[in-house]
Symmetry: C2
Subunit: 417 residues, 2 copies
C-alpha cells in the first residue's frame, strides 16, 4: 500500500466502444471508495481536457448515474485523438501536464484507450518520473479492434463481435428471402487486425453466416475474390454473403478503393473517399459477374450498439477500470490491466493481469494466420473457441419508454485554480 | 361458423420485417387447431410457390420451432415480389392458381404483406368468386413502411421504429464524442411515407436524437437543407445529426441522387446507383460547407434486426395472423386484419378489426402533415404519442451460445399431385 494522497483523473481516448464507459464506471466507483484518493476527476476529451484544465468533478455525480455508465455506449466524458509529440522534440505539452497535475495534486492517472493511448500514458509517466513528480499511471484497455498485445482480448471487442455476429445472422435471414440471386458484401471495421471481421465467423458457426470472410491478415487478390464469389454463387443458387474488413489490402499494400481507381476511369478519384470497401467490391462484382449486389457498412453502429453488449464484456470492462485503481493505490505504476484467459472444466473465466505499458504501447496483435482457413476465406475452430466465450450474455441499458436509459451525468466542471 | 373443410395456405410477400414470421406463426398455430382446416401449407416464395405447387407441409413441423418463428426475422418460407397481371389482360396465372387450389382442396388463403399483397389477395379472391370456387381469403398486414390505409399501424413498423430510435440514440453518443465538428447523415427506408424516418424523433424526444429530420411528405429543398444544417452547425458547436428518408424528393419529383447528377460532372452518373441519399447529401455538405461528414445507411438492418423487436409488435403481429384464421373459419373473406387503437386511462391497447381488402389494396397512408413541425425538420408530440406505445417492451429470440436461436423449420415439401 502506498501512502500518497491526492486526486485521481481518468481520460478516455480514441474511438468509442459499447463498454468504454463501463471501464470509466469501474475507475470512478472504485476511486471514490479509496481513502487515499482525495478527489475524482474525469478529463473532458482525454489528454486535451487535462491540458486545458477542463475536467468534471465526479464526486458530485449521483452513484445511480455512475452505475448506469456501465450500460452507456461511447465515451461520456468525451474522447480525443491527440498524439503527444516526442518529448525530445517538443516538451511543451509535457510541461503543461506536469504543471496541471501539480496544481491539482493529481497523483493517480488512468488512461483508457488503445495502443496509442497506452503510448501516451507511458510517455507522461516517464516525463513525470524524470521530473521527480510521483504519480501512479495506469492504462485501462479499450478497443473493438482487439489488437492490444499480451492481453488475451480487449474490452469493447466482445460487444462489437456480438453485434457483428448477430447482425450477420439477421442479414442472412433477410438477404436470402427471395428466390432471386443476390450478392451481399458487408464491411466491418479493423484496419490492420481482422478480429472484428473474424467475428462474422461466429454466425457461420451457427449456420447463418457469411460464405466468405476476408481479413486484412491475408493479402487481398481481386481475381481470387471474383473466383471465390463465382464459385459460391454457383454452389448456393446465386446467394452469397460476404464479410470484408475495411482494411484488406493487396500484397502491394493497396486498399480496395485504391485498387479500383487504377482500373477504372480517372474521374472515379473524386468519389473514392465516399466509396467504402464493400461498396467498391459490390460495384466490381456487378460489373464483372453481372449479378445483383448490395453493400452494407456497419459503420458506427458496430462500435456503439450497446443494446447488443456482451455481459462478459461489460463486466470485464468494469473490472479493468476498478482493478487499475486498486493497483495504483497499492503502489503499481506504468502497467495496463490485461486479461488472462482461464479455462477450468471447459468453463471460461478471466484473470486480471498487469501488462507493462511499454510492451503494449504501439504494438499490434493480429489474428494468428493458423486460425484462418487455408483458402483464406474463413476461420478455424480455434477462433470460434476463442471468441464464443466472450460474447456470452446480455447486459443492455434499462428501458425507459421502450428506449435505453443511458447515464445522465451532471458534468460539473472543476473550477480552474 | 362456416362448414367448408379444406386445406389452408399462407404466402409471405414483399420486403421482410422482424415480425413477419410472428404473423406466419399466428396463422400456422391457429390453423393447426381448427377442425375445418384439414392441412396447413406454407407457400415457398409467396404466390410463386403456389403457382409452382411448391409448398411446405406445416403439419410436419415441430410446435417448438413454430413458436420460435415469433422471434425469427424475415420470411422463413421465402418472400417474393410478383405482381399479378390484370385479369382482363392475361388470366393465365389466375387459372393456374384456381387449378392448384382445387387440386389440393385449398379453401383458406392467407396472404401476408403490404398493399401490393393485399391487391394480389383481393384479385385472387375475386377470380375465385367469379369462377364459383369457394375460398376464404384473408390479408395479414406487414410493412415497416407503416403505410397501409385504415389500420392504425402495421406489424413490422414498431420493431423497425424501435431499431431506428435506439440506433439513433447510440449514434448520437458516438458521433458527438470528439471535440471536433462532424455532420452525420443517416438514411432510413421509406420511399413515399416517412413513418420510419419519423421514428428518429423518438430519440430526439429522449434528448438524444437527430437535430434535423427530413420526410418524403415535405418537398426537399437542397438550399433550405444547407441553411438548416449551417444553422444547427453553428448552434451545436459543429455537431449535427441528420435523419433523412431515402424517399425525399424535390417539388419537381426528383430524388436526391438525381438532383445532384444535374449539378456535378456527368461522370457521376456511373456512380449514382451506388450512392444513397445520405451519401450524396454528406458529400454535398462537405463540398458546400467544408465540414467533416459521415453518411450512414441502416440498409437491411432496420428491417431484420429482430434483436430489437418491440414486444407490442411481436404480439400484435402474431395476433394478426391468428385473428385472420379465426375470421376465415367463421366465414369471413376479402378482409385484412387491421389494428384499432384503444386508449383507456392513458393506457394503450389494440383491438383487431376487419378492413376490406379493396380499401387497402394499393392505397398508401403517409404521415399527417400536421404532425410535422412548421420548419419541416421535426415531428410534433402527436407523432410521439402515436409511436411511443408501439415500441414498448423487448421480445427477442432466446440466446444459444450468446447468439439468437432462430426457428429451424424442416421445410418438407408437399408431394405434387
Amino acid at each position: 500500500m502506498n501512502e500518497l494522497k491526492g486526486a485521481a483523473i481518468i481520460g478516455q481516448s480514441g474511438g468509442p466502444t459499447s463498454v468504454i464507459n463501463a471501464s470509466a464506471a469501474g475507475v470512478f466507483i472504485e476511486a471514490l471508495k479509496q481513502p487515499n484518493i482525495t478527489r475524482v476527476y474525469g478529463a473532458m476529451h482525454g489528454i486535451k481536457g487535462i491540458l486545458n484544465e477542463e475536467f468534471y468533478d465526479i464526486n458530485q455525480e449521483d452513484m445511480k448515474e455512475l452505475e448506469l455508465l456501465k450500460t452507456t455506449p461511447s465515451s461520456s466524458i468525451g474522447s480525443v485523438r491527440y498524439k503527444l509529440k516526442d518529448v525530445n522534440v517538443d516538451d511543451t505539452d509535457y510541461k503543461k501536464l506536469l504543471e496541471v497535475f501539480k496544481k491539482y495534486n493529481i497523483r493517480y492517472f488512468f488512461y483508457n484507450g488503445g495502443n496509442d493511448s497506452m503510448d501516451t500514458c507511458n510517455k507522461i509517466s516517464k516525463f513525470f518520473k524524470n521530473n521527480d513528480y510521483k504519480c501512479f499511471c495506469m492504462g485501462v484497455p479499450k478497443t473493438i479492434d482487439n489488437d492490444l498485445a499480451i492481453t488475451d482480448h480487449c474490452p469493447g471487442y466482445a460487444s462489437a463481435a456480438k453485434y457483428v455476429a448477430t447482425s450477420m445472422m439477421e442479414i442472412k435471414c433477410d438477404a436470402t428471402v427471395y428466390d432471386t440471386p443476390i450478392v451481399c458484401v458487408v464491411e466491418i471495421m479493423g484496419r490492420n487486425a481482422g478480429w472484428l471481421t473474424a467475428a462474422a465467423a461466429l454466425a457461420s458457426y451457427k449456420g447463418m453466416g457469411p460464405d466468405l470472410i476476408y481479413l486484412p491478415e491475408i493479402p487481398f487478390d481481386l481475381d481470387k475474390f471474383y473466383s471465390d464469389v463465382k464459385k459460391k454463387y454457383e454452389e448456393n443458387n446465386g446467394k452469397v454473403l460476404i464479410a470484408v474488413s475495411e482494411g484488406v489490402k493487396t500484397k502491394d499494400g493497396k486498399y480496395v478503393p485504391e485498387l479500383v481507381s487504377d482500373n477504372i476511369a480517372a474521374d472515379a478519384f473524386g468519389h473514392k473517399q465516399l466509396g467504402g470497401t464493400a461498396q467498391v467490391l459490390a460495384e466490381q462484382l456487378k460489373n464483372k459477374l453481372g449479378v445483383k449486389v448490395r453493400a452494407i457498412e456497419f459503420s458506427l453502429l458496430q462500435r456503439c450498439a450497446q443494446h447488443l453488449a456482451s455481459k462478459v464484456d461489460v463486466e470485464e470492462a468494469f473490472m479493468a477500470g476498478s482493478e487499475a485503481v486498486k493497483a495504483a493505490v497499492s503502489g503499481v505504476t506504468d502497467y495496463m490491466i490485461g486479461f488472462k484467459r482461464i479455462e477450468k472444466n471447459g468453463k471460461y473465466s478471466c484473470e486480471y493481469i498487469k501488462v507493462p505499458l511499454a510492451e503494449v504501447a504501439n504494438a499490434e496483435k493480429t489474428v494468428p494466420l493458423e486460425w484462418i482457413t487455408k483458402d483464406g476465406t474463413g476461420l478455424t475452430d480455434d477462433f470460434i473457441n476463442y471468441a464464443l466465450p466472450l460474447i456470452q450474455g446480455d447486459e443492455k441499458a434499462p428501458l425507459e419508454d421502450g428506449l435505453p436509459r443511458f447515464a445522465k451525468l451532471k458534468k460539473i466542471l472543476v473550477n480552474k485554480l
